[in-house]
Structure formats: structure tokens, C-alpha cells
């Protein structure tokens, strides 16, 4: 479980996170949603320690992630898997080497066990015969799946995904969403997904946090998402004609 308590982050005069808080439960799909530029990526990057926060607390299973040494931070980070928006696969490495990379750095496994683990992870994301290919030889959807395979290679306790289905067609996006959901439930991971995709919200959102101008505006689940009564959230949800029709149908 990850607790975020009143974190603030500013760049010069611009406040990008304003007392942002959230409670992200283990074994659930926790979604942070919001418009572009609302601060959701910054919230995730602060939770990962890629940006320092000006104030506030971040706790990983009760362990402070802000006021600790770099060494202790590194230890917690080894329990984290991350799927970046563009995949962030290492261009110069093959798919096998990409997934093997965290294993080589931290697992202490021998090469045979590492290859077994790589193949297991690739099978888990439904990819076969791609070990020797380079990231540039794969489609966007396949790259995302490799990124997920790399993220789960070290059996993480926490999985972060930054817009995992951006740039994908609706059917591939659904495949990625379902894959993340299966992995979260199967391995009991605390998954935090950053998205503005409404299909994802309705499909996989166990716990949803709506953020606007760096501030949490609403928190709930997909059952009360469409009927929340929150003005800002409704403006976000029903901005498209399709959802306006859906609202009138409800």
C-alpha cells in the first residue's frame, strides 16, 4: 500500500502539486486520472523519487520515502516496477537483455535462471520469439508488453504505469489494460496507473483519484465514477459527445 500525504511541488512560481494526497491499496488497480497538464505525471514521478517534493510525505507500506538516505531509497526502488509512457526500453539492448537488465543488476541469479525468468516474463505478457530482436523492431503495443515484462522481472511489490495505453489502438489498449489487471491480481501488487483514457477507467479502475491543477478533486471507484456529482470530474468525464449521450441515457 502506498500513502501520499499532502505533497507539494513547485517550479519557480508554478505550483504543479497542491497538497496532493492519495491512498493506493495493495492488489488493486489504482488510477490517477486528469487532464493533460493536471499534474498526474508529476505526482507519479514524485512518488518514484524522480523529483523531490517541497513538502508532504510518501509512505511505501508505512516506510517513509522522503526523509531517508539515497541508499535506503535505492532499496525501496528495487521493489518498484515502472512502465513508462513510451516504454523506455534500452535501444542498444535486445529484448532479452532489456528484461534481463534488472536481474543482472540486483537478482544474483545465474545466467540460466535469468534466461528462464526472462522467458517466463515474456510468456506472461504473451510474447514469443522476440528475445533477439531490438525494441525498434517491435510495434508500439509489443514494446509496451516488453516494458511490462521488464517491470515485473524482479517480482515488484509496486507497479507504476504512466499512460500505458497512449498511442495504442483501442483493442491493443484493452489487451494492455487487462494484462496489467491480471498481473496486479495474480501477484498482489500495488499498481498505480496514470491515465486519461476513459475506457481504462471504466474497465480496470478499482480505485480512482481525479486530479486537477495539482490537487485531488475526487476519489472513488468505477461504480460511483459516473454519478459522482463532482462538478470538475463531470466536466472531465462528459467532455465528449459520446459520454454526454451516456449521461443522458443514465
Amino acid at each position: 500500500m502506498i500513502e501520499v500525504k499532502n505533497i507539494n511541488k513547485s517550479f519557480a512560481d508554478k505550483k504543479v502539486l497542491n497538497n496532493f494526497s492519495g491512498y493506493f491499496e495493495t492488489g488493486k488497480m489504482n488510477l490517477i486520472i486528469g487532464k493533460s497538464g493536471s499534474g498526474k505525471t508529476m505526482a507519479v514521478k514524485c512518488m518514484l523519487g524522480l523529483f523531490s517534493v517541497d513538502s508532504g510525505d510518501i509512505l511505501f507500506n508505512g516506510r517513509d520515502f522522503i526523509n531517508i538516505s539515497e541508499y535506503e531509497k535505492t532499496k525501496i526502488r528495487q521493489e518498484i516496477g515502472m512502465v513508462f509512457q513510451g516504454g523506455a526500453l534500452f535501444d542498444s539492448m535486445t529484448i532479452e537483455d532489456n528484461i534481463m537488465f534488472p536481474l543482472k543488476m540486483f537478482s544474483g541469479l545465474n545466467i540460466i535462471d535469468m534466461i528462464d525468468r526472462v522467458n517466463f516474463c515474456l510468456n506472461r505478457v504473451n510474447l514469443k520469439n522476440v528475445n533477439t530482436l531490438f525494441p525498434s523492431e517491435l510495434s508500439g503495443g509489443m514494446q509496451k508488453r516488453v516494458a511490462i515484462a521488464r517491470a515485473i522481472a524482479l517480482k515488484p511489490k509496486y507497479l507504476f504505469c504512466d499512460e500505458p495505453n497512449s498511442g495504442l489502438d483501442p483493442s491493443t489498449a484493452t489487451v494492455i489494460d487487462n494484462l496489467l489487471k491480471e498481473i496486479t491480481y495474480e501477484y498482489n501488487i500495488t499498481t498505480v496507473i496514470n491515465t486519461h483514457d476513459m475506457n481504462s477507467v471504466m474497465e480496470i479502475g478499482d480505485n480512482i483519484v481525479y486530479i486537477e491543477d495539482g490537487k485531488k478533486e475526487w476519489e472513488g471507484d468505477k461504480r460511483n465514477f459516473l454519478s459522482s456529482g463532482n462538478k470538475k470530474l463531470n466536466e472531465f468525464i462528459f467532455s465528449s459527445k459520446l459520454f454526454k449521450k451516456l449521461k443522458s441515457a443514465i
Binding site: F90, D91, F101, M105
Partner: protein, 246 residues
């Protein structure tokens, strides 16, 4: 003001590179890989330039020594000293700043904008040290060999030019090349090369690593890295020379 801010950031960047290291077994294969990618791949380029630089230096020295009172072997001697003291270490380092430096800045810049560096950080890896330290060690190690090769091929170029044009026979050229050779000159030359190797890799890596934005900014970082490196090489060349030779 910006100069001081950039210098401060560069020093903090170096602190990240040299402290909080990963385990040694991680660096060794990467250093070998970088020696191959940054050093060995430059051999052809360095060789080509060195032969022609050596030839031009010999022709220019011969042009300036057109005096019947001066012995012809002075052409070989002057060419040797010019190549050892200045042309090979400084000129080749400036050329390598363009080749290796832009490669380092653009590759790190691309890794930054495609979030590959963030991916390393999230894994708990000190990305600055993991990515940059092997490059610094590799270039500081391989540069002296490249410069020795450059000096040797420069002399070959000079000998060829002297022979083809008939301005300096082989015997005289060889006497000149061996005449009153001071080993310290070579040590000075190699020391410069090692320092220039550090400047090339660390400065270009700094600009690449701190890239913000997209493809356009990667190009700008690469250009900045090469320009700053070239300026620093010229400045350090003066200071090292005045410290060691004056």
C-alpha cells in the same frame, strides 16, 4: 551568472558520477564496450587525418626552412616535435571532441528524452555513474594509444610527403626524427591527451545527460557539448603547456 550555475551543475554531476558507485562487475564489461565503441571505432578516422596532417606539417616546415645553411634533417626534427607537442594531442583531441563528444551527448540526450535514464533511476541505479563513468575511463585509457598512433602515422605521412616531393630524403628525415629526442615531450603529450579525454567525455556527457525537451534539444545539447569541449581543450592546452614546458 549562467556560467556559474552551469559550472555548479557540472560539479554536482561529476559528484554523482564518481560517488555512490555500482558494483565493479557492472563497470568492467561496459568499459570494454566503450573502449570499442568510442576508441577502436575512431582508429580509421584518426589514422586518415594523422597521415595528411603529418604530410602538411612536413611540407610547411620544409617551406620555412628553405635555406642552404640549414641541414635537411631539421625538417624531420621539426615535424616530429610539432606532431608530438601539438598537432597530434591537441588537434586530434579537437577532432575527437567532434566525433566522440557528439556521440556521447546525443546518445545520452536521447536516453534522457525517451525516459531511459528515468527507467534506470527507478530501478535504483545511479544512472550518471552507470552511464558516464565507463565512458570517462574508456576514453582516458584509449586516447593516449590513439595519439601515439597518430604521432606515428603523422611521421609516416611526413616521410611520404618529403619523399614524394623530394624535399627531404628518407635518410635525412629519419636522422631528424631521432635527433635529440626528449622523452618528456612524449610524456607531456600523453598527459595532455588524458586530460583532454576527461574533458571530452565529462563535458559532453553533462550536456547530454541534462537535456530537457525533445529531438531538437538533443541536437542543441550535442552542439553545446562539442563547442564547450573545444573551448576547454584550447584553454587547458595553454595552462598545461605553461605549467609543464615554460
Amino acid at each position: 551568472m549562467e556560467f556559474f550555475v552551469t559550472t555548479g551543475r557540472y560539479i554536482l554531476f561529476l559528484k554523482n558520477v564518481f560517488f555512490r558507485l555500482e558494483s565493479r562487475r557492472v563497470y568492467f564489461p561496459k568499459i570494454i564496450q566503450e573502449i570499442h565503441e568510442l576508441g577502436m571505432s575512431s582508429i580509421g578516422f584518426v589514422s586518415f587525418i594523422s597521415i595528411f596532417v603529418g604530410a602538411v606539417v612536413t611540407l610547411q616546415v620544409a617551406y620555412n626552412l628553405e635555406n642552404p645553411l640549414l641541414p635537411t634533417y631539421l625538417i624531420g626534427l621539426s615535424s616530429r616535435d610539432s606532431l608530438v607537442l601539438e598537432f597530434s594531442p591537441t588537434m586530434i583531441s579537437l577532432v575527437l571532441a567532434g566525433k566522440i563528444g557528439s556521440n556521447i551527448a546525443s546518445s545520452l540526450g536521447t536516453m534522457r528524452v525517451t525516459e531511459q535514464i528515468d527507467a534506470l533511476e527507478v530501478m535504483g541505479i545511479n544512472s550518471a555513474s552507470y552511464l558516464v563513468l565507463p565512458k570517462i575511463i574508456a576514453v582516458m585509457f584509449i586516447n593516449p594509444f590513439l595519439i601515439i598512433l597518430s604521432i606515428a602515422l603523422g611521421l609516416v605521412g611526413g616521410w611520404l610527403a618529403g619523399n614524394i616531393t623530394g624535399i627531404c630524403p628518407t635518410e635525412d628525415f629519419l636522422v631528424g626524427v631521432q635527433y635529440e629526442f626528449i622523452p618528456f615531450n612524449l610524456a607531456y603529450s600523453l598527459l595532455k591527451t588524458i586530460i583532454f579525454g576527461f574533458i571530452i567525455t565529462s563535458v559532453c556527457a553533462f550536456f547530454g545527460y541534462t537535456t530537457k525537451g525533445g529531438a531538437l534539444e538533443v541536437g542543441q545539447s550535442s552542439t553545446k557539448g562539442v563547442v564547450y569541449t573545444s573551448i576547454l581543450i584550447i584553454i587547458f592546452n595553454y595552462f598545461i603547456t605553461s605549467l609543464l614546458l615554460s
